[in-house]
Amino acid sequence: MKNRSSLNKPSFWEHLLFLGPASVIFLIVIIIPFCISIRYAFTDWNGVSSQAGFVGLKNFADIFTGKSDFLGAFRFTFIVAFFNVLIMNALGIVMAALLTTKIPFQNGFRVIFYLPNVIGGLILGFVWQFIFINGVPAIGKALHFAPLMTPWLGDELTAYAGIIIVSIWQGMGYVMVIMIAAMTGVSSDLTEAARIDGANARQIFFRIKLPLCMPYITLCLFWTISQAFKMFDLNYSLTKGGPYGSTVSLALNIYNDAFANNKYGLATAESLVFFGIILIITSVQMHFSRKAEEALNG
């Protein structure tokens, strides 16, 4: 009898063993810091002194009126996210379509295109720093093509382009791998039936394959958006936020304000607004992926 009851109800110690360590870690790393940051967001603490004055909503007012660099960082991040989403997904889908045509060495190509994704953003930033400083001008000279001969990272517009190029180079493989999985998952019965009904390759691709891959496309869209919004390593190493702070991402801006500009209170307020932005993106994502799923099942 005793055996039976112990089958259904674990003891306190068993609960403690399984959930205790994780709960403590979670409390230390996530919950307490999050609560502290809410408190500091309303102060003018500089990160070092023992005193932190309560300033009410001043930090948030500074953020939204453009007195801090947050809006500039948001503009940069938004532009990068916009181009990344368009180009990375389009390229990824095209590459997936090309690689699923039963060409030889499919697997080898998949490895090559995914490769930049496993190298960290910091190292890739330094790799491309060399390419943009020395490689690109040399190529420009060899081709007699003037736009390639300028120092790309020294000008705002081309520095933007540089960061977008590198992040697409890094992330395209991810979209491609997901889309290859999606496309090979489309039942060959369906495409075969369409072929028998007289559909050509293009019709099969646009009318059958792509619509069926919609949930995966949604997934990739939001992955690319959130990757762009969380950018830190890449612009830290590639441009250091320059020229003139034009390529500072949201995360790098928080880091700079806290550790370089000694505006700890402001930085925590910025980090809360940053959290709000990510929250909105994720909520929209959940809404859309649920809709996509319903459409697929319904």
Binding site: L19, P33, I119, G120, W169, A251, I254, Y255, F275
Partner: protein, 277 residues
């Protein structure tokens, strides 16, 4: 019809091949220039090396960033973090699924919600907390950080794996007299192995390549990771490419080798993670 098909397949192959070459060209340039003397790197970055200076360049870079130590540090940090994340996520995902209580429901909700918090929103006060616990700038504090921020995603993956496990197996083990802890370690863990492999592979690449967490949590020369060492090297040696480029090659090499060896498993894990996340 078939010759047409063959032709179009060859054209596609050539297009893809050209794109692949273009894709790896930047990495090729890095390797190519890493064996040249500085003068030629600056004047002729595209040409073949006129004078091989591989030994000198690589030796200088090797000493400059203390490659063995930083690789070892990164490996230890990654191994401890990944092991902890995997174990903690398996335990909590299993327990909250099998023995739900009011507390476990709260735990589950908070962990899943924490996936929404970007690290940049936690990093500033986290340093304060670690200071208060006297573990700031230590390996342990950094590992603890990864356990905390890595838990949510791994928990999510484990949870969907646990949902698919048959309860009958555990029940018969329990009737045979196994304790709950024993059931977990000898029945559940083997069943969760495929998911654990996915979690390990994904988190391994994340932590190995991560820069922001060590930058903030581990300001300690003895514990320097690959990413920190490279970042410092570029601060000091910007435009001394004959040292910086070999350093880049040496630090990229381990991760590329691991990726090529485990590529099938890694990409399966990426797909599984994307679909469940």
């Amino acid at each position: 019809m078939t010759t047409n098909k063959k032709k179009s397949r060859i054209i596609v192959f050539i297009i893809v091949l050209l794109l692949a070459l273009l894709f790896v060209y930047p990495l090729f340039l890095i390797v190519l220039n890493s064996v040249k003397p500085l003068a030629q790197i600056l004047t002729d970055p595209l040409g073949m090396p006129k004078k091989m200076q591989m030994a000198e360049n690589y030796q200088k870079a090797f000493e400059e960033i203390d490659v063995l130590r930083v690789v070892l540090n990164t490996a230890v940090l990654t191994a401890l973090s990944v092991a902890g994340i995997t174990l903690l996520s398996a335990m909590t995902a299993y327990w909250t699924q099998r023995y739900p209580t009011r507390f476990s429901k709260l735990f589950e909700t908070l962990v899943v919600l924490s996936m929404l918090i970007p690290f940049a929103s936690l990093m500033l006060p986290l340093v304060q907390v670690m200071k208060a616990l006297y573990i700031n700038n230590t390996m342990f504090g950094t590992v603890l950080t990864y356990w905390g921020i890595g838990l949510a995603f791994a928990f999510f993956m484990m949870q969907s794996a646990v949902k698919g496990l048959p309860v009958e197996l555990e029940e018969s083990a329990r009737i045979d007299g196994c304790s709950r802890t024993k059931v977990f370690f000898s029945v559940i863990i083997p069943l969760l192995k495929p998911t654990m492999v996915s979690v390990i592979l994904m988190d391994m690449f994340w932590i190995w390549n991560d820069f922001i967490v060590p930058l903030i949590m581990m300001n300690n020369d003895r514990l320097m990771t690959i990413q920190l060492a490279i970042s410092r090297l570029f601060g000091q040696y910007s435009s001394k490419w004959h040292v910086a480029l070999p350093a880049l090659v040496m630090t990229m090499l381990p991760i590329i080798i691991v990726f090529v060896l485990l590529q099938k498993k890694i990409m399966d894990g990426v797909i599984a993670g994307a679909v469940k996340g």
